[in-house]
Subunit: 320 residues, 2 copies
């Protein structure tokens, strides 16, 4: 399958250095017909390639002159910095000159880019971002939302369950992923106004394998759920707390494979689930390893045609 | 200081056995003039004392014939099971025949007991429960709320900050505890509708040392905050996720003092902050060690006269 993955070479705290290095590392892992298109300052990109003994013409480089910073107002910056790597990248995406876009830069600007250009999949109220995390049973969990929508409605959580289920099937290879709702108790009637209402919707839906509530101590055991659904506030706290296990273990000189798997660099990036094109968001502090994995993640999302799979699932009637 | 601590001998998944054993273990650690008053089935209590070669008359035993179970409706059970250990215990508390009450039983029934008898401290909208947790800097953190109020308003979080600050000062000995708000970003303008509004209130208050937002990976480093404020939904997830670190470490054969300190048994119980009398709630699955620490916690709360300290702090004007 031929594909072109757009990379925001200027996105992230250590851009363009870490992005270009990560793209170089990813290059040898990609399928033969996958091409990387780097948006950013051409001179810097070529210089980093040269310093790493890598032929810059392995990449397609689109020279851009502006950068949207983390402090910029996303909507204003997206419009006003019309020659920024993100804005130009989304123009290419909208024209299908690239098949997806990945950035470790401003999540806000990426979302504005989605809304202004490729839009959301029909029927999706608000997209979400997911993260992978290790399960003690050896599997990999999906957590969604991990921060895109911090004030969720029950309907949002229902859609995240559906999106997470499709992601777990298509990207992680689960046959019938178990979907759990993060909550403060096991019983259906436990929880906040949000989770109680979401529970009812999720239980009645029928398009995914809802197993009920999952409590804080059950998130990573794998005994209950493969996909962990919550609002973006809760998911952001859970994810950062979980990732800190890895750093804690390192600090405390604990060598353990399970704790090592909480290293975000292994997962690299998360697709915006519900956007109408492959849009992958990476960690602001991405290392080259994280960027490499973000790019490989983008390749998977495009290869399995995740967007079409989501559209198809959304068109299935509830309980149908 | 003379005091009588009421213990719900029938509360918890392994009551009365674990409760009586825990009370026996606590007995030798209490100050000379502290007396334990056990509410529950006298015959069982005496039997357990005998089996443990402990003179039952070291306790004051108030025989009760009913038990409020975890599945009982709290308000109905509190009224209808008028000879239950919790109901009778609260009668004693209301009449000041005991100075505080501790239970690992139904949190709901304990809260009903508070509302029906001793009430909340004037000005407190909703009380909270806190939990201690280890900090990597060697200190101890306070997290509040950890589950009493899952649907918080910004004013609730403001009061929890004040209550948590007093608790950290009086019980943990912090001189000027640093109060952090759990949030998804560092900046004041980040967060959910709830946390953005709470941030403004907390920053303007002036009665405690507000240091701003604390993210999920910063909760237990001790670099930012000593007291971690959040709604009860978030706090419950954080606490259970943190406690599972201890169990994970055990399962993975990791021996580490820091992870060991996430063992809830070390903290035992949490006072209901904002109730108008010392009310201590323990973990349903309490072991004897957890019960012992719950009782010692109750003794501390009574000894430092936490309730009066809270009343005094509430009477200080904001920014005064």
């Amino acid at each position: 399958m031929r594909m072109k993955i757009g990379i925001d070479a200027m996105g992230g705290d250590f851009a363009p250095l870490n992005v270009v290095k990560g793209a170089i590392d990813a290059y040898n892992c990609l399928q033969q017909n996958t091409k990387l298109v780097l948006f950013g300052d051409e001179e810097s990109i070529i210089k980093i390639c040269n310093e790493n003994n890598f032929a810059a013409n392995n990449f397609e480089i689109i020279n851009t002159t502006e950068v949207i910073g983390m402090d910029d107002h996303p909507a204003k910056a997206f419009s006003q910095k019309s020659n920024s790597s993100i804005t130009v990248g989304f123009e290419y995406l909208a024209k299908k000159q690239i098949d997806g876009i990945a950035s470790a830069g401003s999540t806000g600007a990426m979302m504005v880019g989605a809304v202004y250009t490729v839009k959301f999949i029909e029927g999706i109220m608000r997209p979400c971002i997911s993260s992978n995390a290790p399960l003690l049973n050896g599997g990999t969990a999906v957590i969604a939302d991990v921060g895109l929508n911090v004030d969720c409605k029950p309907d949002n959580l229902l859609q995240y369950a559906l999106l997470g289920s499709i992601y777990a099937k298509e990207i992680l290879g689960y046959e019938n992923p178990r979907i759990g709702l993060v909550n403060v108790g096991e019983e259906a009637e436990k929880g906040s106004l949000l989770t109680k209402a979401a529970y009812e919707l999720m239980e009645a839906d029928g398009r995914f394998n809802f197993i009920g509530n999952v409590e804080g101590h059950e998130l990573f055991t794998g005994e209950k759920a493969d996909v962990i659904i919550c609002d973006g506030f809760t998911g952001n706290i859970i994810l950062k707390q979980a990732e800190s296990n890895y750093r804690l273990a390192k600090k405390l000189n604990i060598q353990n494979d399970f704790f090592d798997r909480f290293n975000y660099e292994l997962y690299g990036g998360t697709p915006v689930l519900g956007a109408n094109a492959p849009i992958i968001i990476g960690h602001g502090a991405s290392t080259p390893l994280a960027i490499k994995n973000m790019i490989l993640q983008a390749e998977s999302v495009i290869r399995v045609n995740l967007i079409d799979k989501i559209k198809k699932s959304l068109s299935i009637k509830k309980n149908g």
